[in-house]
């Protein structure tokens, strides 16, 4: 048994999906927590300070590489598995099997994942690119703001950037659609990831099912409320 044999087997590939998926699930908790600072109603100071901490701390920057790796591996492995699975029935049925035993979103993880990947490309372009690459290669830099009473420490004003980006109703709608895709993707993915890593105790599976549903709905609503509350000016 080699590592290659393990990770190229059907269950091994699913393990890759599950582990990267669970990593991304934990990342989303950090992401939503930090972004919730926009609702502090302090003109974005708490949020900008937090974002600056994340951007300037070495540990977080190293983890950011892991985050990109996680997204890329999860996307590629997912697309590979999806294509392979779709090729296993060359002659289809005249009468489709349909809904029995499964939910539409469970059967549509490839589609939902692709939508999320497209969303992510837009999302990274909106915020990560100007924040990290601003000033380089003629990328437009972010505004700077000083919270140190003129001591000279400048913070990227990501808060102002968010307000700017979310003035466009089409962008707001795209973000909300992205959050809906995320909710359904997680609704299946959360529980499925634990099944793939081998949780088969029914007590835990039941707990994970409810935990997964709660997580999927809450985190997606929280994310969706960010562009919505900025578009409607509910934060100041």
């Amino acid at each position: 048994m080699t590592w290659k044999q393990m990770f190229t087997s059907s269950i091994g590939q699913k393990l890759t999906m599950a582990l990267t998926g669970l990593f991304l699930i934990t990342f989303l908790i950090v992401h939503v927590g930090l972004n919730a600072c926009i609702w502090a109603n302090d003109g974005g100071q708490m949020f900008n300070t937090g974002a600056n901490f994340m951007g300037s701390m070495l540990v977080i920057r190293i983890m950011e590489i892991g985050l990109f790796a996680g997204i890329i591996i999860h996307s590629i492995q997912g697309l590979v598995l999806n294509a392979a699975n779709n090729s296993k029935r060359k002659v289809g049925y005249a009468v489709e099997y349909g809904e029995r035993g499964s939910k539409w979103y469970s059967r549509s993880m490839g589609l939902l994942g692709t939508l999320l990947l497209l969303f992510l490309i837009m999302h990274i372009y909106h915020f990560w690119v100007p924040s990290r690459l601003g000033g380089m290669w003629s990328v437009r830099p972010l505004q700077e703001v000083d919270y140190t009473n003129g001591l000279g420490k400048q913070y990227h004003n990501l808060y102002a950037e968010m307000i700017g980006v979310f003035q466009n109703p089409i962008v707001v709608i795209l973000y909300v659609l992205g959050c809906i895709s995320l909710a359904y993707h997680l609704m299946h993915g959360f529980e499925s990831a634990f099944r793939t890593i081998g949780v088969h105790n029914n007590r835990y599976l039941k707990m994970l099912r409810y935990l997964g549903r709660g997580y999927s709905i809450l985190i997606s609503i929280a994310f969706a409320m960010m562009p919505i509350s900025m578009y409607f000016g509910w934060v100041s």
């Binding site: 059907s10 393990l15 009468v95 993880m109 081998g198």
Partner: protein
């Protein structure tokens, strides 16, 4: 339940051999008793076809008691037809109404190529079982059945998994044509018993390797297989197989 006779329109997949291009043929059957099984209804139709000098419809069947796993018809969009936890041979015609149109197709999966009409080649399952779905015991006198204590809870779970008749309905229902419910039932059956311990790791690895080699898809935990299984094999078995496979693959130390 009241007995009644019915007339039905059947649309049945006909395919001369593995290489031929198949298609649906429409048949009218008359005065079918509601007490007949679905296979008996096909028998009646085949008698008529033989009398007319036509080629009868080829289909797999053996025990007609719901325990051998031979019958394999995909009826109106579901393996084994509309009833829950039922094989085609135990599906009775009272499941249908007079004048109904019934569409019958073979299992569809690359790993289950059509041999003729409704008969598919399921020898891939045999090869998966050969790869590890057994235990090795010494010959000699039969050992006392109670010599090795077995936990009741595990014995029950093992028995429930052993109920799998390897019909392939799980593959037929799965959008990925995955055989994971079948393999997980076979692995769970033995992994839960003391007799299955010596070959536990190699069994999981070898059976999954053979499953992949046969061209089945991977599992996405959607649950379509569980809803169609005539023996109600639970989806939990797949999670157990994942645990068996991963713990084996992470710890086994062998060259190949």
């Amino acid at each position: 339940m009241e007995h009644y006779n019915m007339n039905l329109t059947l649309k049945i997949w006909r395919q001369k051999d593995a290489k031929a291009k198949g298609g649906f043929e429409t048949y009218q059957v008359k005065n079918i008793s509601s007490e007949m099984s679905f296979l008996e209804m096909i028998d009646v139709l085949n008698e008529e076809l033989i009398t007319e000098g036509k080629d009868p419809i080829a289909f797999d069947h053996d025990c007609r008691e719901g325990i051998c796993g031979s019958c394999s018809m995909y009826i109106n969009g579901k393996p084994h037809g509309p009833w829950k936890a039922t094989t085609v041979c135990q599906l009775h015609m009272r499941a249908f109404k007079d004048g109904e149109t019934v569409v019958v197709e073979p299992w569809r999966a690359n790993a289950f190529p059509v041999v003729k009409d409704l008969v598919v080649d399921r020898s891939a399952f045999d090869r998966i079982v050969q790869a590890g779905g057994y235990i090795s015991v010494n010959t000699g006198n039969a050992v006392d059945g109670n010599a090795i204590p077995v936990d009741k809870d595990k014995a029950d779970k093992s028995f429930a998994a052993a109920a799998c008749i390897a019909c392939g309905a799980c593959v037929a229902a799965c959008k990925n044509s995955s055989a994971m419910l079948f393999v997980s039932a076979k692995v769970s059956h033995l992994a839960l018993l003391p007799q299955g311990q010596p070959e536990r790791k190699s069994r999981a690895i070898n059976m999954v390797a053979q499953m992949d080699k046969e061209g089945f898809g991977s599992c996405t935990n959607i649950g379509a297989c569980e809803a169609t299984c005539p023996k109600e094999i639970r989806l939990t078995n797949i999670a157990r197989l994942n645990a068996e496979y991963l713990s084996a693959a992470l710890t086994i130390d062998r060259e190949n």
